[in-house]
Structures are given as C-alpha cells and as structure tokens.
C-alpha cells in the first residue's frame, strides 16, 4: 500500500518535483528546511555579534556592519526561522492529526511557501544591493525615514516583509479552513489534538495581526518613495504611530511564534507521561484567552514613550493578566506529568527543558510589565535576555522537541539518543550562559544595540560568558546536524508508532503515503490511536 508512495517520495526531492509539489507533507518539509537554512544564517550572524561584544573595544565589525547584522539577525530569526519552522510543522502534522488527506487549498499552500522564500531572498539581496536594513527588527521611525536611513536597506525590509507576510497570511487562512472544515468523522473541535487547537488560534492571530504590519509597511513605503509624511515628525507626521501599528502586530506575533510551541509541548508531555493531557479544556481555553489578550498588550513596548499614567497602568495590567492563562498551561503540563510513567526520550527531555527555560522568560516578562522596572531596563540588555529566553528558551526548545518527536514520522527513522543528549545539554548550558548574564548586563546599565563598550563598566565578564554560551549553542546545533546525518544514513527504523502515541498521525505509515490514510479514520474520543490500541480501556466519553 505504501510502497509506491515511499518510492515516490525520494524522487519528489531529487527532481523538479520539489518545484511542482502541492502535497502538504512535501511543503511542510520544505518549510522546515527553509527555517533550518535561515537558522544557520541567523545563527552565524549571532556569533558575529557575540564575537564583536566578547571583550571591550573590539573591532571585528565596523559600526555600520554591526547595525546591519543585528537587524538582519532579528528579522531572520523571527520571520524566516520561527515562522517557517512552525508553519512547516503545522503543514505536515495538522492534516494527519485531523485525519484529512491534505490541506484545504494545496496549490495556495505551495504559493505560501514560495512567497515566504521570496521574501527571505528579497531581504538578503539587500546585502549586495545598497546595504541591509539597519534600524533594528522593529524599525522605529524616524530612523527609517529617507532623511535618516542611508541607502535603500529599508526598502528591502518593506518588500521582504510584505512578500513573506503575504505568504504567511495565505498559509494561515489555509490552515484555519483546513482545521475548521476538514476534520474526519467524529472529530469535533472538543476532541481535536492540542497542537491542532493551537495552530488554529495562531492562524486567527496571523490573519488579524499581519495585515496591520502590511499597512504600516505600505505607509512607510509612501513616506520613502512618494515623499509622504506619515512617520516624519518634521513634516507633521507622528513617529509614535509607527510604534503603535508595529506593536499591534508585533506583540500578537510573539504569541504567534509561541502558541504552536505550546501545542507541541501539549502533545509530547502526555505521550511520554503515559497519561491524557490534564485539563484539556483549560489548555485550549487558555490558548484562546492568550489570543484575545495578545491584542491588548502592545503598548508595554512603549512605556518609555510617555503615553501617560492611565495608558501605562492599563497596558501594565493587561500584560500581567496574560501571564495567567500562560501559567495555567504550565500547571497543566506539570499536572500531566504528576504520577505519570515518565519516559525520558529525547522529545520529552527537550519538553522538560522547555518548561524550565520558558518559565524564566515568562517571569522576566512579567517583571517588564511593571512600569517602573520597565522604565529602568527599557532598551537595555535585560530586554534582550528576556526575549531570548522566550524565543529561544521557549519557541526553539519546543521546535527541537517537536523535531525529535516527528522526525521518525517524516523519515521513518529515529534520531540517536546519545547525540540527542549532547545536543540538549550543549543547548541548555549554552543558552543559560548566553542569555542569563544579559539580564545582569541590563540591570548594570548596558544598552542594547551598542556596537562596543569601554572597559571598566563591570560589563566585561558577563559579555565574555555570553559569547562562550553562544558558541556552545552552535556546538549543540552541530550535534543535531550530525544526528540527522547519521539517522538518515543508518538510523534505527521507527515503524508507524515508535512512541506509543495517541493521535492519528501515528496510525499511518512512516513516512505516510501521499493520500495519508488508507481509510478515512473514525474518531470517538480525544486519543483516537489509544482507543484503537486499547479497545478494552478506551477513554471515557
């Protein structure tokens, strides 16, 4: 039954098939590979930044190059790594989890991928065509206005983000329609796997948040190319308007790249604890609550602007409020593990690591919601430390967990455990050394985005430690690459269901045939594969 599909799959990548494919699994793999390629680029940029900052008074990069590199590092990691990786997982896994043969619009799906790739290419063309964007990933006006931005890096920023953003919006519409209309018989939303739930919420957030970014980009383009005045205070414009628009997109964006990560963790922890997810309804509902609240917290990025006490108090309160549903999820994961039969396979190791590091990022986030603390630490390395704990300690740790979890489904082979542990410990120790000292640096007054710093500020050793940590993370990435290489060549065969898992993607072959399932699955509970494997101990309805 699956022999033809297996024979077809290597061919699809070896030939022009990769250009023509509309299979959600192929496109999912292509998205993840795109994310990995840009992860390597964005990672090398991070290493360059850390080498420049390792000791005081370094001259590895000149100041203008440094500005371009830190801007491109941020843009790359958020728009070209986090988004493609998560969309890639969603593309591959969601149709399988809901028992569908593909997404709702397969050809649009391919278009989404190629738009995302094109946006990345446009952004990187800037290096050879007039200089890369250099105003930071959130590109505050009036630094981006023609009078202040030298070269046309900001125009590449506008086109790159608008094009990849269009791909992301189309992809989100596709996934939302797929989840809402293509679930197999019996799978009401109240039985859908939690990763599918979180992808649905994320898709809605993308549909609502990305157009706000696009509109701001269009206005910036009018300013730059048609002499417009939207964000130029000298011409009667308002630089703060850019901040409002950008963060109206930008803060939901943070949840866009973390909710699917929550979904992955909510799949992995139950399977490796041998228990159903504790508080399924609360985990789903807290995701919805986070989605709503994420549109009401944007001005906590703007406390230092001076919006006024009432405004600051409001956004401080909403930002603290959003920690509640996030905390609900953490407690649900812990309660799922409580008295479970825990198996410390690599997906679970990374999932546990995720909880530890993400909670640190979450708590420093709450501290930044306190206006006086924020005023003291705003634009300092404290913020850089916080956001890396959330995005790397949160999103990327979950992506690694998901990678170890679903790799056997995608390739038919398991990843090695020993190299996996090397990857895990290098990453965990590396990220702690790289990002924890940044909090100290921020409290000691080191501003973010400085090219270098003088000796004698007390900033020397934390910077050196941070640089060492960044190289440990890179070493961990090499361990992962070696693991993937060895596994693809001679890895242990996985079979259909290597983890004794609960959801439908594990009920079909590894890798699945092009049509996914031999027969349309019928579902009666939240753990359809468990029910099938244990007809005597099916989940109570």
């Amino acid at each position: 039954m699956t022999a033809t599909a297996l024979a077809r799959r290597p061919g699809a990548f070896a030939t022009a098939g990769v250009l023509r494919t509309v299979d959600h699994k192929d496109i999912g793999i292509m998205y993840v590979l795109l994310g990995i390629a840009f992860l390597a680029i964005g990672g090398l940029e991070a290493l360059l930044l850390r080498v420049q900052l390792a000791t005081p008074g370094e001259h590895v990069l000149d100041p203008s190059t440094y500005d371009q590199i830190f801007t491109m590092h941020g843009i790359t990691m958020i728009f070209l790594v986090a988004i493609p990786m998560l969309v890639g997982f969603a593309n591959y896994v969601v149709p399988l989890q809901i028992g569908a043969e593909d997404v709702a619009f397969p050809r649009l799906n391919a278009l989404s991928f190629w738009l995302t790739l094109s946006g990345g290419v446009l952004l990187y063309l800037s290096f050879v065509a007039g200089g890369a964007p250099d105003a930071g990933w959130f590109a505050y006006a009036p630094l981006t206005e023609p009078a202040h931005a030298v070269g046309n890096g900001m125009d590449w920023y506008i086109f790159g983000l608008a094009v990849s953003g269009a791909g992301t919006i189309i992809g989100a519409i596709n996934l939302a329609v797929t989840i809402l209309l293509m679930r197999c018989p019996g799978m009401v939303m109240g039985r859908a796997p939690m990763f599918t739930w979180m992808v649905l919420i994320t898709s809605v957030l993308i549909i609502a948040a990305y157009p706000i970014l696009t509109s701001a980009l269009v206005m910036l383009l009018v300013d730059r190319q048609l002499g417009g005045r939207f964000f130029d205070p000298a011409g009667g414009g308002n630089a703060t308007l850019w901040q409002h628009l950008f963060w109206s997109f930008g803060h939901p964006e943070v949840y866009i790249v973390v909710l699917p990560a929550f979904g992955m963790i909510s799949e992995i922890i139950p399977v490796f604890s041998g228990k159903p997810l504790f508080g399924y309804r609360f985990v789903a509902a807290s995701g919805i609550a986070i989605g709503f609240l994420s549109f009401g917290v944007w001005a906590h990025h703007m406390f230092a602007v001076g919006l006024g006490d009432a405004e600051n108090a409001f956004f401080s309160a909403t930002s603290m409020l959003i920690a509640v549903p996030t905390g609900v999820k953490v407690f649900n994961w812990l309660a799922t593990m409580w008295r479970g039969r825990i198996r410390l396979a690599m997906p679970m190791v990374f999932a546990i690591g995720f909880i530890a590091t993400f909670v640190i990022g979450g708590l420093t986030g709450v501290s930044l919601a306190v206006v006086p603390i924020d005023l003291y630490t705003t634009d300092s390395y404290y913020v850089v430390g916080h956001l890396h704990y959330v995005l790397f300690g949160g999103t990327m740790m979950a992506v690694f967990a998901g990678l170890y979890y679903w790799f056997p489904k995608v390739t038919g082979r398991l990843l090695g455990h020993r190299l996996g542990l090397a990857h895990f410990w290098l990453t965990l120790v590396g990220l702690t050394l790289a990002f924890l000292p940044m909090h100290l640096l921020g409290i000691e007054g080191m501003p973010r985005r400085v090219w270098t710093y003088p000796p004698g500020m007390g900033w020397d050793w934390p910077n050196l430690v941070s640089t060492i940590g960044s190289f440990l993370i890179a070493a961990g990435a090499i361990a992962l690459a070696a693991n993937v290489w060895r596994s693809l060549r001679a890895g242990e065969r996985a079979g259909d269901d290597p983890w004794d898992a609960f959801t439908l993607e594990w009920s079909t072959a590894s890798p699945p045939p092009s049509y996914n399932f031999d027969a349309i699955p019928q579902v009666r509970g939240k753990r359809p594969l468990w029910d099938r494997k244990h007809p005597d101990r099916m989940d109570p309805l």
């Binding site: 939302a176 549909i207 009018v222 417009g228 939207f230």
Partner: protein
C-alpha cells in the same frame, strides 16, 4: 431557482470560508490605514474643504453602491448580464476616481506636498487598487463562464460577490471618513 436555494452558507464551504477569512484580514488592513487618516485629519481639513469635489464623488459612489445590488443579482442567477453591468459600474467608479485624482494633481496636491496629500492618496489609492483587483476577478469569471459555463461553480460566483461587497463596504467607510467627515468639519 430562488436566490435562497442557491446560497451556500460560507461556514460550510471551504472556498467561501477562505474568502471570508481573507476579507477579515483585509478589514484590519484598511482599519489601520483609516486610523492613520483620522490621526492626521485635523492637519488636512482646510485643504480637504477647499479641494475635494464632494458632489461628483457622491455621484460616482452611488454607482459603486449600486454595483453591489447588481452583483447580488448576478451571483444569485449566475447571470453574465448582471455581472457585466457590475463590472461597468465598477469601472465607472474608477473613472470617477481618476477624474478626481487628475483634478487634485492639477491643483498641485501630491502625496508629498502636505499631510492631506499623504493620507488622501494612500487611503483612496489602496481602495482603488482593490476595486481594480475586483474588476479583474469579475472579468475572469465572466470570460470563464462564457468559455466553459459548467466549470465555473457556484462558489466562484459567491466568492467574488463577497469580495465585491467588501470593496463596496470599505468605500462606505472611506467616503464617510474622507468626504462626509470633511463636510461635517
């Protein structure tokens, strides 16, 4: 066959649900641009009062509003005649916009000349671009239904109708904010 019998609930059909979500996304796109217009409204009010031709634009707006009616009839009856009339009304509206632009540009107003130029041309220009896309979609369905009528499904008619109504609804907001708002001061 009555209109009701033909109508597919958009929550059941993947194509129409996709269009609905796209329209939702587009709504937030326009909302941001409208907010930007309103933020800078005071600065441009004097120019707006002096320069905008409210009467003529109102007339052309009526043509666009009417085209929503003809679009509804076209989708319900799968009627190429009503579809063609819809496209004509849409094109007439765009021509009216062209006249307004020509007059304002002739008077020296530019996107870069003053704040009203920036906000006016951005907001109305983005709307006009959406009308243009709508005309291309109408023409596509018209030509496709002439060539292979049975290949053009009901969702194609209803999908472009949803988009066309949306473009029309955006103009209700834009006309109110830019033109009616100017009259009211």
């Amino acid at each position: 066959m009555s209109a009701q019998a033909n109508a597919i609930p958009f929550t059941r059909d993947r194509n129409l649900l996709g269009v609905a979500l796209f329209i939702g996304s587009e709504s937030l796109f326009f909302l941001s641009v409208v907010i930007a217009f309103v933020v800078f409204r005071e600065q441009g009010l004097a120019t707006a009062k002096a320069q905008l031709d409210i009467g003529r634009t109102a007339l052309f707006s009526v043509l666009l509003f009417a085209s929503s009616g003809t679009m509804g009839l076209a989708a319900a009856r799968r009627s190429r005649a009503w579809l063609g009339l819809t496209a004509l009304l849409g094109a007439a509206f765009l021509a009216g916009q062209g006249l307004e632009y020509a007059r304002l540009l002739g008077a020296g107003l530019r996107p870069g000349s003053e704040m009203f130029g920036t906000t006016f041309f951005t907001l109305t220009g983005l709307h006009a671009a959406h009308v243009l896309v709508g005309l291309v979609l109408l023409a596509t369905v018209l030509v496709a239904s002439l060539a292979r009528p049975r290949r053009v499904g009901q969702t194609a008619w209803e999908g472009i109708a949803m988009y066309w109504h949306f473009v029309d609804a955006v103009w209700v907001v834009v006309f109110s904010v830019v033109y009616v708002g100017t009259v009211l001061g």
